[in-house]
């Protein structure tokens, strides 16, 4: 744009203001931008997310805010609510909290909402986005994850709400960042590219990113797959032990994808000592990935949750392992459906980016990166996100989601979210429709 900081600031201010006007205006216009959205994130889902992020209230304007148009998974499930007379009188009193440590040892960590933020690395997203997420996590006493690109110093004040991720590339992993975390996440695989490792394109590996990752700038960075030190449950256990040696009080999240033997993987993680198992379904992901991987490798999370839940029950260890589902959780309704299928809670990624203005245009990897300043390391584009504004948007989304989640639970007559876990009998299978209210 320009080399002069004062001019750049004025230009950024103009576009920031125009974008914020647009995020407010579009949901109220009665029709979506003609090319907005896709089958999973329909125009209505995007606009209703923006509306919630703006107001913190349930969406209106006739937008279909509960489901997409993918004709499968969450989009063909709904709840069979009780007659109105049997709804709970006070939805506000419904307990949506989630204990993240079900082991008889290590500290208790309870979050008031059954979700936290997914790993998105510094490099794949800007520092401003990371800060927005961390600030929102602090406000809601939940968590966000660093992803594998290191732990920017600006996140340190929020360390009680930041999960340190250790992934196969070990980019930016340091003893002090493991020691300062209440929860540490070992990422074995991710849903967007199951079995393929990570890939940060050279264009995004700026001086700051490379410094954080202790690598060379402007060079593509590959994270190998899998950990070359882990070829068995025993090796996996060794990893957990190593982590606990560095930070004995940390809870351990194990993040895996959804292969056909995901049930065995879950039990293996339990025996390795994980507190939380995050299963990341194949239809999620926020970063760049080969198209062939996104669509074809591993199973969607909706199909993996019941398999894992049942197997852990049969093995008698279900109540010692917290099961978090991710990879395509878009709405409070998705959260509730995931829990009804057998998860304890969920991990949000794309939904937070949509709240910050993502239009799902899928150009994250192109040129300077995201034109909305989200998945970019471009020093000018990333200024479009002010962390305080971003935190407010995400926080508002959380608030609206909690209201909707409480509404669902109260209409099912359930005073606690935990009562919903595995209650597939409360779900209804519906025929696929286009996702928009007639």
């Amino acid at each position: 744009m320009t080399d002069r900081p004062d001019v750049l600031a004025r230009i950024t201010a103009k576009h920031t203001e125009a974008l914020r006007r647009g995020f407010r205006a579009w949901p109220e216009m009665g029709f979506p931008p003609p090319t907005l959205g896709d089958l999973r994130w329909t125009p209505d889902l995007i606009l209703s997310n923006w509306q919630q992020a703006e107001s913190g209230k349930l969406p209106g304007n006739g937008l279909e805010s509960a489901r997409g148009a993918s004709k499968g998974g969450f989009d063909v499930l709904e709840f069979g609510f009780l007659p109105e007379a049997q709804w709970l009188a006070d939805p506000e009193s419904v307990d949506t909290s989630l204990e993240l440590n079900r082991r008889p040892y290590d500290p208790s960590v309870r979050i008031p909402i059954p979700w936290y933020g997914a790993g998105m690395s510094f490099g794949s997203v800007s520092e401003q986005v990371m800060l927005s997420r961390a600030m929102a996590a602090e406000r809601w006493d939940t968590f966000t994850s660093t992803g594998e690109g290191g732990y920017p110093d600006s996140l340190a004040p929020y360390s009680r709400h930041v999960i340190t991720q250790i992934a196969t590339g070990l980019f930016g992993v340091r003893e002090e960042t493991i020691q300062r975390a209440r929860i540490v996440e070992i990422k074995y695989a991710q849903g967007a590219k199951p079995g393929l490792g990570g890939h940060l394109l050279g264009d995004k590996s700026t001086l700051a990113v490379a410094r954080m990752r202790e690598s060379v700038p402007w060079v593509s960075l590959f994270s190998p797959f899998p950990f070359h030190s882990v070829y068995s449950v025993e090796d996996h256990r060794k990893h957990v032990d190593w982590l606990k040696t560095i930070n004995p009080s940390a809870l351990v999240v194990v993040k895996v994808s959804t292969p056909t033997d995901i049930d065995m993987v879950a039990v293996g993680s339990y025996h390795a000592g994980a507190h939380i198992l995050q299963i990341d379904g194949s239809y999620g992901g926020t970063g760049a990935a080969p198209e062939i991987a996104k669509k074809n490798i591993a199973m969607p999370v909706e199909l993996a949750i019941p398999r894992v839940h049942r197997y852990l029950l049969e093995e008698g260890v279900r109540d010692e392992l917290v099961l978090m589902a991710s990879g395509g959780i878009r709405t409070a309704d998705d959260v509730a459906k995931a829990v009804a299928l057998g998860a304890d809670g969920v991990v949000l990624g794309t939904a937070e980016l949509v709240a910050l203005g993502c239009t799902r245009c899928r150009n994250c990897e192109r040129g300077r990166g995201c034109p909305f300043g989200l998945t970019t390391t471009d020093p000018e584009l990333s200024l479009l996100i002010d962390p305080a504004w971003g935190a407010e948007r995400i926080s508002n989304l959380y608030r609206a989601m909690q209201v909707r989640l409480r509404t669902i639970l109260s209409r099912l007559g359930l005073p606690r979210l935990a009562d919903l876990r595995g209650r597939t009998d409360l779900l209804r299978y519906r025929s696929a429709s286009n996702g928009r209210k007639e």
């Binding site: 931008p33 896709d38 890939h199 062939i292 490798i297 199909l303």
Partner: protein
């Protein structure tokens, strides 16, 4: 023989004919002028601010900015539309929606063109954007392993994955004499470095240059191209890459040519013609081309060991969609104890990179592709493309070298995507993938397991 790593020489070969962009940029000129005036006042003629555009891809960076948008640069990010909803709207380009046909959709066409232009694996951000599953190939997912790798070498291990396949017959075991020399029955067939060959192209278009490109690309790729014997003779094309498709009535003509191709395909089953070709071309693999759904056992008992089974271009067969037909053929041969004795090639309905591993996973040794290569050459379908005799299409003019490179790039991209799938599974050879049904996941099976206890599921799946 020393080790040689197979690699495919890719280089950029951009589209040569115009291709419709995905988006149309519609700017309301009067509103734009109003906006500029308003901003000029608001920002007190701070021109860098007033004239700064919302597009980072240069759509409004021409000499007159938004008054003449450079539509071909639009990637549909919608930043302009979000910032200025009343001034600019981005619409889908109706011209693009007419690409392909009811099976090979516009998105597949765009993907094929990208692959042919770049030779690279298509990569995009923000997760998957399509339907949950669907019919045919879309209702199948491939497995991955959390910990098993093809090798511990390299970044992902995929650098060492072999995509070589053997076509032909092999004895159950080899025998050697006391000097270590092979005796008894020996493998009879050929190896290809990739499990992809070019199958019979549509014969409805003026294909002279396309045929030349197919042959030249097959030579570079060290694979094969199936062409009718009559066409080969008429055009005088000669290449070790050509697999002549021989009608039974022309078997003796084939033998008398003195040409000894690596493989010949007999078009339909004819015992006499088959035996004549086997006897007349002893060093050539004689394959039999049949539609899916035929009983192969009697043919195997008469000596056939390589079958090329075909569906129509939409993957339809008498035994259902091609995916089901492959599974059923493969599993029948397994049950009959014959699968290891024969090679199964298959074609029809394989139009995207993901279809290759899925077809092999269901039981093929290698696949034939026929329509995708022509789309890579920017052929435009003019109606439903169903089979070689019924595929109305139009090919633009092109240079032979460009066309060859486009086809090489396409296959290179597909091979790299096959490596991604194999790498994710931890498989070191594509031969291990064949019929590995334990590594396949089918939507209807997983949904039954996951959702059967949900009220209403049965009503929709009885």
């Amino acid at each position: 023989m020393s080790y040689r790593r197979y690699s495919i020489p890719t280089q950029p070969a951009p589209n040569s004919a115009p291709h419709p962009n995905r988006f149309r940029v519609k700017v309301r000129k009067l509103k734009l002028a109003e906006l500029l005036l308003r901003e000029a006042v608001h920002y007190r003629l701070d021109l860098p601010v007033v004239l700064s555009r919302p597009c980072v891809y240069g759509v409004f960076s021409g000499p007159v900015g938004g008054f003449m948008p450079r539509e071909h640069l639009c990637v549909g990010c919608l930043r302009c539309s979000v910032e200025f909803p009343n001034v600019v709207r981005i619409h889908p380009n109706p011209e693009r929606l007419g690409l392909g046909d009811s099976y090979l959709d516009p998105d597949t066409v765009d993907t094929l063109l990208y692959e042919a232009a770049s030779g690279r694996v298509p990569v995009r951000g923000a997760g998957y954007a399509g339907g949950f599953g669907g019919d045919g190939w879309d209702g199948m997912w491939t497995d991955m392993s959390e910990i098993v790798r093809p090798t511990r070498d390299g970044i992902h291990g995929r650098e060492y994955i072999s995509t070589e396949v053997f076509l032909g017959s092999r004895p159950k075991f080899l025998r050697f004499d006391s000097f270590g020399r092979s005796i008894g029955e020996r493998p009879h067939g050929l190896s290809l470095p990739i499990p992809i060959l070019f199958d019979l192209p549509p014969l409805t278009a003026r294909l002279e240059r396309a045929l030349t490109a197919l042959v030249a690309a097959a030579e570079v790729l060290e694979t094969l191209v199936v062409l009718p014997l009559g066409l080969v003779r008429e055009r005088g094309v000669q290449s070790a890459a050509i697999v002549p498709l021989v009608e039974p009535a022309r078997a003796h003509e084939m033998i008398s040519l003195g040409w000894r191709p690596r493989m010949v395909e007999l078009d339909g089953w004819d015992p006499a013609a088959f035996q004549a070709l086997v006897a007349g071309l002893p060093d050539t693999l004689i394959g039999v081309r049949l539609p899916f759904g035929e009983d192969l056992l009697p043919l195997i008992e008469q000596g056939a060991s390589a079958f090329h089974l075909t569906a129509d271009y939409h993957g339809r067969t008498s035994a259902g969609f091609v995916l089901e037909a492959i599974r059923s053929t493969h599993s029948s041969l397994v049950e009959q104890g014959r699968r290891e004795q024969v090679t199964l090639l298959g074609s029809g309905g394989i139009v995207a990179a993901e279809h290759v591993p899925k077809a092999i996973l269901c039981g093929l040794d290698a696949v034939g592709i026929e329509l995708s290569p022509l789309i890579a050459l920017q052929a435009r379908l003019l109606g439903e493309a169903l089979n070689p005799d019924r595929a109305p299409l139009e090919l633009p003019a092109f240079e032979a070298a460009w066309a060859k490179q486009r086809l090489v790039n396409l296959v290179a991209s597909w091979r790299d995507q096959l490596l991604e799938i194999l790498g994710a599974m931890g498989l070191r050879e594509v031969r291990r993938l064949r019929g590995e049904m334990g590594r396949a996941m089918f939507q209807h099976e997983l949904e039954r397991e996951a959702f059967a206890s949900i009220p209403g599921y049965g009503e929709h799946h009885d």
